[in-house]
Symmetry: C2
Subunit: 327 residues, 2 copies
């Protein structure tokens, strides 16, 4: 088994900030209520689609730049997103802007669990001698897919992009364990559903489709997470033959601070070992883990040999855990 190393990472966040006072006007909820429920103070949202493309490109550029890997050696680009700028796939426009010439480039769609899935997929590819370095991007712009009159979802989401550049590594490091779980019987508690409308062309009836705004049964999602994830963490650690004490940080998807606090309590870990930036950015879906990972690396919080646990969960319902030795 060839192991992998994180050679570079990046993040990019839109400039425009929406603080909690915004929601007093739209849904009559105040800062105190929102912060207590979610732990969120602000979220950053895009001003237009072009800004979204620019920030994805910027995040990916940082990963390449601080990796010192030549752009010609990157031959795999996987973009985790549920909000591509193009339904045919969002990766191609970014690959073009980065100037990468001939990389296998595609999107993986799995909402908030998309980044871990893309990371693990790239790991499979890197076992193959034909693939050298992989750029993995997580990006979403759910500010554009929430119903702004829905108090359950509109307060939660921010936009952003995070990325990592990984490659083969001969040092002792890399993936220690991957754990996944799917509860597809709960596919309908969190979705952006395809819907249809009828119209006419020269009196001939035709139908086109569109996507609704996001639907979330918050209570069911909350229950799924707090009743399953502690067990998944325990199982993944057991598979890896590790104890929780040996994990430097848990880097979880940023869904809700209350969820993270309950998880910490249930597994018996200090809340400062479950990293969080949700107060600033809200839930950025597929971007949340790589943004937080980039911040952790940028603040020099990780040393060679530290073991981290990346915790992904979201629509599907779908969860995954990557236990990784940083090198």
């Amino acid at each position: 088994m060839k192991n992998i190393k994180i050679y570079g990472s990046g993040k990019s966040i839109p400039n425009k900030i929406i603080d909690n006072s915004f929601f007093k006007k739209t849904i009559n909820k105040d800062d105190e209520w929102i912060f207590k429920k979610t732990g969120i103070k602000t979220r950053h949202i895009i001003e237009d689609v072009e800004e979204y493309i620019t920030l994805i490109t910027d995040s990916a550029s940082q990963s390449i730049k601080n990796s010192n890997v030549s752009i010609d050696e990157i031959n795999l680009v996987i973009m985790a997103t549920s909000t591509p700028t193009n339904l045919f796939g969002g990766a191609s426009i970014i690959v073009n802007r980065l100037g990468i010439r001939n990389a296998l480039a595609f999107d993986i769609t799995l909402a908030c669990n998309g980044f871990n899935t893309a990371f693990y997929t790239a790991f499979q590819y890197l076992q193959n001698d034909n693939f050298k370095y992989a750029l993995i991007i997580g990006c979403d712009c759910f500010s554009r897919w929430v119903d702004w009159s829905d108090y359950k979802t509109s307060i939660l989401f921010g936009d952003g992009s995070g990325s990592i550049l990984i490659g083969k590594d001969t040092e002792e490091g890399g993936l220690i364990n991957y754990y996944y779980n799917t509860h597809c019987s709960q596919h309908d508690i969190l979705n952006i559903r395809m819907n249809e409308r009828e119209s006419e062309i020269n009196s001939v009836k035709i139908k086109n489709n569109y996507y609704d705004c996001m639907f979330m049964n918050g209570k069911d999602v909350f229950n799924y997470v707090i009743s399953n994830l502690p067990d998944f963490i325990v199982k993944s650690l057991r598979n890896a033959n590790l104890t929780l004490d040996e994990i430097k940080y848990i880097i979880p998807h940023q869904a809700n601070q209350t969820i993270l606090n309950i998880l910490a309590e249930k597994i018996g870990i200090s809340t400062n070992k479950i990293l969080s930036n949700i107060e600033k950015y809200g839930n950025t879906s597929a971007a949340s883990i790589p943004i937080l990972l980039n911040e952790t690396i940028s603040k020099n919080l990780l040393e060679k040999g530290d073991i981290i646990l990346l915790l992904g969960f979201g629509a599907g319902m779908s969860s995954s855990i990557i236990i990784f030795k940083y090198a």
Copy 2:
């Protein structure tokens, strides 16, 4: 390198047929003009989203049924689609309907080149001992994303789903060569672009996004395909150390019969070795290759040891070739 075998395959096509006479009324084009330009006589289109979900499930069920593989042994499901029933990913609802309990399940988005990409991704996963059997589904419903007043695109697309079930194999067979090429500088000649609209909630301006209808610069797509794909086929055969005579069939994405005829002429192969069903179904995007592969298998056209070439191409621009020994 562990090799793989196709254990089962399936296809499902909507009941509703649109023949070329339909377009006389909408865009004033007749059967003769459409057939001459495209080779298409009919395309099948969904009547509603529920039918789309049902036909994807049906195609996948066939793959499982005729594989004789127990559903509990399938632990990877990859759905290639650019038109998921849920922007968070279309796989979960299908996995639930099939009764698969705990498979890693996600979507890959790469338009008409999505199926080959999902197939090759599953091949990487199957090198890993944790994954046993993989269900790979291709599905799209572009009848719902074309502008029905656009004569360049509305005549081309049909809806459908095809699938295969693959697993490890100890016999001599499986993947001989994979070749890919991306021309991301041409990402804008074929897309379904994210767009935005502004509205108000209690006098507060907010923005939501939606996807436009498909845009295609048919001339540029045509030129991309005929000027690049013959060379890609030659290179993939050279990499595989094979001659065209050793290929039983080319199973290409069904974009346009004129394109397939020109490809046959350029590489010097009889048109009856480049399989086609476009006359009946039109372009079904990510579903076209697995539908045609299922038909080829179902008609007993493949014998053990036959070598086939799966030719994917589409938006990105992105192309891939899988040379595969059937076993």
